[in-house]
Amino acid sequence: MSVPPLHNHEPNHEPRQSAPLPKGNPKLPEQINNRNEHPLKDFLLLAGALLALMFILTLLLGWSAQWLGPKIPYSWESRWFSSAPEAVSGALQPSTQDTHAADTARQQALQQLLDNLLSQQSAPLKVRLHWLAHEDPPNAFATLGGHIFVTRGLLTQVTSENALAMVLAHEYAHVEQRHPITLALEQLALSLLGSVIGSEGAASMIGQHTSLLTLLSFSRDMERSADQRALEILQSHYGHSAGADEFFRNMLNQHDESRWALMFQTHPLTSERLQQISQAGSATVPVTTSQLTPLPALLQLNDGADSKEAQIPQP
């Protein structure tokens, strides 16, 4: 016989001679490819770690936004956002020429009221008021660039100038404390964070909700501090803060609220805000309703019986 080649890679087509066949297939241990560990343990550990991570990151980003926001000069902000947001200003368009004149007059009256309020303040920021003539939910909000929007529904909810002034001053306080730009920075930072976490569907879901709840508490702090500042403005303009609670009291009468809902709301509970307002009031001279300033005729939409029957939709 010749010497077999050392490296024989050719398949051996001869039947195998060696090793008797096993009796049966081996019974392999169960825990090699399927570890005997409760899946929930692993899951809860990871989810907890992610929650904690997102919470800390969101806090850090929120704090940086709160640090940076007020440092951006207001003149820059008003230049960047000099025109009112398109989506909202669309609602400003009046239907007829007639109402157009009335709406312009109302907007001017509101602007006048705010300017009067701020005349006592040193170096008030320039803000622009916008009148949303076709929005029924009672609401007012401030956006980037010092734009303040007031809905028609809000005027139906107030009977005195003081109550309206409280809302306007509150929105002005947001602008003054640079809350819109701070929130915008927070959202920018969060969307960056979200893209880092990835579009892993479920995982980013956990992250988003943690961030959202963390940020909501930020914005509730903003509301409280804006309320505080608004009371100061009222105090310096009228000499008292009576009537400031009227709007909130009306809102509370129409909507029940539960403490549980606080977790998911951008605003503090209305009852909590009322408490804060009444505390601020009791610290100063006692007030009576006779001290309230009536609304300018142009802004009176809450006329007697009509308003009591009016059903206000949920905000």
């Binding site: 195998r16 049966g24 490819n33 399927n34 899946p39 990835g198 479920a202 998911f264």
Partner: protein
């Protein structure tokens, strides 16, 4: 808020039904593996001399198992921190063993004595419109060796 409720509901459903299906499947796999233990499955490419004159045929067993929502989420979390994805490990373990069992069952129905040259293929099926929820297919295939009357006489001739 609504999104969160949907998420948690899906998670709970995925966990509940996923665990139920997995433990049931493992019970079935272990019982059937015991029953089919004598039907040899070997990775060798060439059959030994005892099977020299058996006829051979291809036998396959394939299985598709869906990922449940809980597993997807658990794996997504693992994707952030890294490490062994236990949720998918048990899924693929089940799929491979089930595929072998189905292949063995086919071989048994053909009257085979053994299956040689076992091979696996694994593929991912579907992404459910990009939701990340997919299923896995495992295909096991091999050469079934079936004794024939002719080969039996030939084998006895060889033995003599």
């Amino acid at each position: 808020m609504g999104q969160l409720i949907v998420f948690l509901t899906l998670l709970a459903l995925g966990y509940g039904f996923g665990r139920l299906a997995e433990s049931r499947h493992y019970r079935s796999i272990i019982a059937r593996e015991d029953a089919l233990r004598s039907l040899l499955v070997l990775p060798d490419r060439m059959p030994p001399i005892q099977f020299q004159s058996h006829t051979s045929t291809l036998v396959t067993g394939s299985v598709v198992i869906s990922v449940d929502y809980f597993k997807t989420v658990a794996a997504g979390l693992r994707g952030i921190f890294g490490g062994r994805v236990g949720a998918y490990e048990s899924l693929l373990d089940r799929a491979r063993r089930e595929a072998i069992l189905r292949m063995q069952e086919e071989a048994q129905s053909l009257g085979a004595e053994a299956v040689f040259n076992l091979k696996f293929e694994t593929s991912r099926i579907g992404q459910n419109a990009g939701q990340g929820l997919g299923s896995v297919e495992v295909l096991a295939y091999g050469t079934a060796l079936i004794p024939t009357p002719v080969s039996a006489s030939a084998a006895s001739a060889v033995a003599r």
